[in-house]
């Protein structure tokens, strides 16, 4: 077999089904690559090498390898709770915690016969766009090791782009799957809110968090999506509806025909008069991507969503508010680290000392901001007002979808920036999510698909669809991918050769 880590999940599936390789071989190839490359990349926080090989051997013995995702390795962002496997959410406060249960999506992947390679690095509690906020490691972008891999799912993006894993799960609260996918040349999809279980996903912002696939091709992402999606009675916000047929849509889109599809280019996201903060290279690649859609037969028009400009302030009130409450359980009483319990401090002090040492600066900033936004006398002006803005944004989407089938925009205003460049400037960091926030707030699905390079760095095109129409995202993304000819990450292979 050629280098197994160069294959997509679909190719691995075929090779496994044909008996050309085994899950153990595939798993070992990826573990070897992790051992060789991850010292430089820092994509993984924890590698479950022995368990992975044992699991792969089991799948091989069962004869199911190659059916669905059976026998194919995956990496999980460390935000997913995994029974017996260390889970930190990128935070010092959870150092050493081995959960007594597993997230629904982790169980579903295990049931599908996938092989867990390990847990990937992330911004602490998913707060960030660069993965520099991890308490444990800085993850590097496989395209340029001096640059960030995006965030917060930066460990997953680096792992998949760097071929340390064929597939990975990320989570997206305001863009944390799409932006890292965009800046590492991957496909990343944020499903419709409620269509993938949040049970066992360590909450950042409950009303926004959603798990989704990251892969090197649209079809790979669709396969992973179908494996994790669907109703979960343990999650009250889970939608009891069939998983959209995303694999079929990806195959259909790959045919390259988008005749009759109506595409709206969102003026407020990088269009005329809304280009501040957007890099020219990003705008150029995006324009080319839109031209590809037109060439594929789509009817493209510009659409205005006037409230999208308020997405960033609304998001940075809603997410920190919910986070301030979601993170209250990390106080050192039942799990995780405890600081200052030497008899000289009372319980309030021990909680405060534990949180002081357990949380990093970005987490503290957001907790304080969220505490403020929810506090008596401020709730209406901040949290309440932000929730109303959220309604306006949803209305903009609804109005737009009266006229078009999908909306498109750049995924991120810039390409990957140098490590350290935005660490001390929260506002600059937050601006990375400008384009991804509206879909998060409205709960609608959105995918990022590569649309070329700018100065040698990947640029992503975002496709947004109405709730539960995730298949449209995949169809359009697959058409873009087909028009470009080959997965963007193949260029990394060429470079290495």
């Amino acid at each position: 077999m050629s280098d197994l880590t160069a294959l997509t999940a679909v190719e691995l599936q075929a090779a496994l089904a044909a008996g050309e390789t085994s899950s153990v071989e595939v798993t070992r190839a990826h573990l070897d690559r992790i051992a060789a490359e991850d010292g430089a990349l820092g994509a993984f926080l924890h590698v479950t090498a022995d368990a992975a090989l044992a699991r792969a051997a089991e799948v091989d013995a069962s004869g199911t390898a190659g059916t669905g995702l059976a026998g194919i390795p995956v990496a999980l962002k460390d935000v997913f709770v995994t029974e017996g496997v260390p889970t930190t959410s990128g935070s010092r406060i959870l150092e050493g915690w081995r959960p007594p249960y597993s997230a629904t999506v982790a169980s579903r992947l295990a049931d599908a016969g996938t092989v867990l390679l390990g847990k990937t690095n992330m911004d602490e509690f998913a707060m960030g766009s660069s993965t520099e906020n991890s308490a444990y490691a800085v993850t590097r972008n496989p395209w340029d090791h001096d640059r960030i891999p995006g965030g917060s799912s930066g460990g997953s993006s680096a792992a998949v782009a760097g071929r340390l894993a064929p597939l990975a799960l990320g989570t997206d609260t305001g863009g944390s799957i799409r932006q890292p996918a965009a800046v590492t040349g991957l496909v990343g999809h944020k499903p419709t809110y409620g269509s993938v279980s949040r049970y066992g996903l360590i909450a950042f912002s409950s009303s926004l968090d959603q798990a989704g696939p990251m892969a090197r091709t649209v079809l790979d992402a669709a396969l992973l999506h179908e494996a994790i999606g669907g109703h979960d009675p343990r999650d009250s916000t889970s939608i009891d509806a069939p998983v959209p047929t995303v694999v079929e849509a990806a195959r259909r889109g790959a045919g390259g025909d988008l005749s009759g599809l109506r595409v709206g280019v969102v003026r407020e996201l990088g269009g005329e008069g809304a280009r501040e903060g957007y890099e020219q290279g990003v705008l150029d690649r995006f324009a080319e991507g839109v031209a590809l859609l037109e060439a594929a037969g789509a009817q493209v028009r510009e659409v205005s969503c006037p409230s999208f400009g308020l997405a960033l302030p609304a998001y940075y009130l809603i997410a920190p508010s919910e986070a301030s409450s979601n993170l209250a359980r990390f106080e050192g009483m039942r799990f995780g680290i405890r600081v200052g319990d030497d008899g000289s401090h009372d319980v309030d002090e021990v909680m405060a000392l534990t949180r002081e040492q357990g949380f990093g600066p970005e987490v503290k900033r957001r907790i304080i901001l969220g505490t403020y936004a929810l506090s008596a006398g401020y709730y209406e002006a901040y949290y309440g007002q932000a929730q109303k803005v959220r309604t306006l944004i949803s209305r903009d989407f609804s109005a737009a979808y009266d006229d078009v089938d999908v909306l498109v925009s750049p995924t991120s205003p810039t390409v990957a920036w140098p490590i350290g460049a935005r660490v001390e400037d929260p506002l600059a960091m937050y601006a990375a999510d400008l384009c991804t926030l509206p879909a998060s707030l409205a709960g609608v699905p959105a995918i990022s698909v590569p649309c070329g390079l700018s100065d040698g760095l990947p640029v992503g095109l975002q496709v947004m669809a109405p709730a539960l129409a995730d298949d449209r995202c995949y169809r359009v993304a697959a058409a873009v991918e087909a028009a470009l000819g080959a997965p963007l990450t193949d260029r990394l292979l060429e470079r290495a050769a």
Partner: protein
Amino acid sequence: MSEPLVEFDDVLTRYEPVIGLETHVELGTESKMFCGCTTAFGAEPNTQTCPVCLGLPGSLPVANAAAVESTIRIGLALGCRIASWSRFARKNYFYPDIPKGFQTSQYDEPLCTAGHLDVEVDGETYRVEIERVHLEEDTGKNLHVGGATGRIHGAEYSLVDFNRAGIPLVEIVTRPVAGAGAKAPEVARAYVTELREIIQTLGASDVRMEQGSLRCDVNTSLAPVGSLEWGTRTETKNVNSLRSVERAVRYEMRRQAAVLDAGGRIVQETRHFHEDTGSTSPGRSKEEATDYRYFPEPDLVPLAPDAEWVEKLAAGLPELPAARRARLREEWGLSATEMAWLVNAGALGVVEGTVAAGASPADARKWWLGELARRANDAGVELTALPVTPRQVAELSALVAEGTVNDQLARQALDGVLAGEGDPRAVVESRGLAVLGESDELVAAVDVAIAGAPDVVAKVQGGKVQALGALVGAVMKATRGKADAATVRRMLEERVLGS
């Protein structure tokens, strides 16, 4: 720690009390509010927990349908409006016994609002307005270690058990109750008593105050008589019996009056009730007021009970205590006062059972409020805790009615029943308690009595008929009470007066 108190009657010459009650009831569901853990009482610590009720990272709540229905049923029983749109909210605060750093509760969108409960004290009806009935979850339980008392104060550390964490809790909040005057303490008690009975009737909870499945916070304030403004209230926690509810209000009224009399001001604070002394003491006040930062719980979706659902629950409500009392009073032909006695004695259920087993309402009442109440009192137990069933009491009553025993023999038969010797008829049999008919034994006893008291016989024959009583007494004594007094009298009259 004794504080100056004003005599209770004296308080009322100058002040008007206003009370309010917040009652927490642990629902008797099989599983917890937001997870499937069992709610059984008394298990080993931390054996009834899961990721959800421990607040482990990543876990999510799903609301218990039975708990929601119980809350709506309680609301309906209290005449509340059932919201067509209701939500859970997060009440954010830190405490070692709350696992998530917030309590999932309801805030501005409770399930039930605007109800009322009428309670009766000394024949007068007081309406207690219910502000809201909402659903939330219980906390874990702290055990304080070290220090002298096992109390929180002075403890070196605490141990937490989360078995109770997440058990569904219904909170019933009254509006302030004014105008009860001297009866305020009793109104408070009567309210909790009635509420408890309603919830018991609904089967929503076992409402055992000693196990903490019903807990009360009592608010009390005083205003100068004639004042239009209410005074500052205190909130007394830890009130764990019906009697304590009354005592807590009484104590706070007396204490607050003393503070006000001395020109002081009442501090709005939490106070703790002490069963042993019947007094309250201030809780430790925090340096800063707590800001709970309520917001709608994003992990749960709204509750929107539609009319059909609510109507179905309403149709399934059992007969409520007040309606039952009214019906029984009518059926038994009792006065309001007679009914009140029955209720206060806690005898309604047993009397009803006794009547159902065939006794007349008057006899059933007489037994339970008379002889049985006396026995319970002597034994220091609740009336209903006596080892005698309503069916047995009905049998006793039947034995008297059919003349098998007289009252005195019936009491002896009761002795046997209470001693575990079996049903009344069996005791009468085994102890030989049946009254004597016009038997040879009785004829002989009558003859002996007549022969032994010629002077009395002469008096009777001389017209002093009431002197016959002495002869009756002699016969009764000779037969050790087994004779029927009326029969004896008739036999004596025949023989002495020849009529």
